[in-house]
Symmetry: C2
Subunit: 95 residues, 2 copies
Amino acid sequence: MDTCEYAKIFKALGDETRLKIFEMLRGGELCACKILENLNITQPTLSHHMKILCECGIVMARKDWKWTHYSLNCALLSGLIAHLGDTKCRRNTEE
Amino acid sequence: MDTCEYAKIFKALGDETRLKIFEMLRGGELCACKILENLNITQPTLSHHMKILCECGIVMARKDWKWTHYSLNCALLSGLIAHLGDTKCRRNTEE
DNA sequence: TTGTCGTATAGATATTTGTCAATATAATAG
DNA sequence: CTATTATATTGACAAATATCTATACGACAA
């Protein structure tokens, strides 16, 4: 995973609507129609956002008959968290 | 910290140039001129990016004589990591 | 086949964004 | 005062983006 891919994830999460979707999915898998119910956007707009979330890898799609179910890619999320956590953070009081 | 503020942070990190800056700062505090040396952008463009990084709170500026030193806001970063880590991530194999 | 339902794509448009050159600002030195 | 140095701001512009309406696609039902 290089910097460019992380940038893609951050960019995906950097839109308020998509971050809301991300937060919804943190509770577990959801179908597109359920997500749509909780947002004030049209269906094509949701489809557009889901594509972006899937293309960066942080969200996965699963088709089940007519419905598409979305869930977080937990492995990728864990990797991202681990990467962020690997930061040299000194206590601000001293060098 | 509400969702909107996280979106601002993610948006800030969603640009490749700014993510590079973020990665540089993970190694510790740096002056603007040092950051500029490692990027192929002009000084005004760097200034613009630093403003965005500071406005979302993830980067802090410290003026010392003629130089401005930038460093990560470790408290905010920790909060972000904790938030992300608080995700209900099931093993993908079972319900 | 025709209709319905959930989702995706195409095309248009207004807004946002990243970048630059030019200029300003603030602090210091002489 | 003037000159220098590091950084910030302004204004312009091309590229990217979020959103919509209209339409297409795919799966199933009758």
